[in-house]
Symmetry: C2
Subunit: 112 residues, 2 copies
């Protein structure tokens, strides 16, 4: 239903799904392997995998029993590219903070 970028951001809006991606960055894993560290049931993990799969962030193998999940990082680039347009704004706010702190420091020294 949603546009691809919304699907990616939505898939990332959950700490377990982000942790699954971090695990898959180390190599492919089955549902059983993924369930263990997260102390989740197989169906709980499968639900998260479906969200990640719909967002294009993982692909799953075909072998019925094993079906390992593999990270597909490509859609993360689209999310990073979108965010990159705002880099200027957060860097600017850091610059302003930096300037403000320097002003406070100078004032502090003047008072000594």
């Amino acid at each position: 239903m949603s546009d691809p970028l919304s699907n990616v951001f939505s898939a990332l809006a959950d700490p377990t799904r982000r942790a699954i991606l971090a695990r898959l960055a180390l190599g492919e894993a089955s549902v059983t392997e993924l369930a263990k560290p997260f102390q989740m049931t197989g169906p709980g993990i499968s639900k998260h995998l479906k969200v990640l799969e719909r967002a294009g962030l993982i692909v799953r193998g075909r072998a019925a029993q094993w079906r390992p999940s593999r990270l597909q990082a490509r859609p993360l680039k689209d999310a990073a590219d979108w965010l990159d347009h705002y880099r200027h704004y957060w860097e600017e706010s850091f610059d302003r903070l930096d300037e403000h702190l320097r002003t406070l420091q100078t004032k502090g020294k003047d008072g000594e």
Copy 2:
């Protein structure tokens, strides 16, 4: 309820909210000003602004009538930093594609 990073990703998982941020990047705006280009009602926009505000992506003025919204880009940096850990993976997949295309090209030339 959610962790801050999940709130940010969740707020970005909607094209209207992303467009509102793009508009606010140009300068602060009231609900009425935001509603016009999006052909949405004031309450519709207000709902989106609440989500953006909860994620820390905007702040709103206090004046009862005007209440302009202003972009706060700082939380976008956290999202970009998270994504940055995966840069290596999408760059690698591009490298592999590039290599594959070069192989195809070489094969094409051999066949000439």
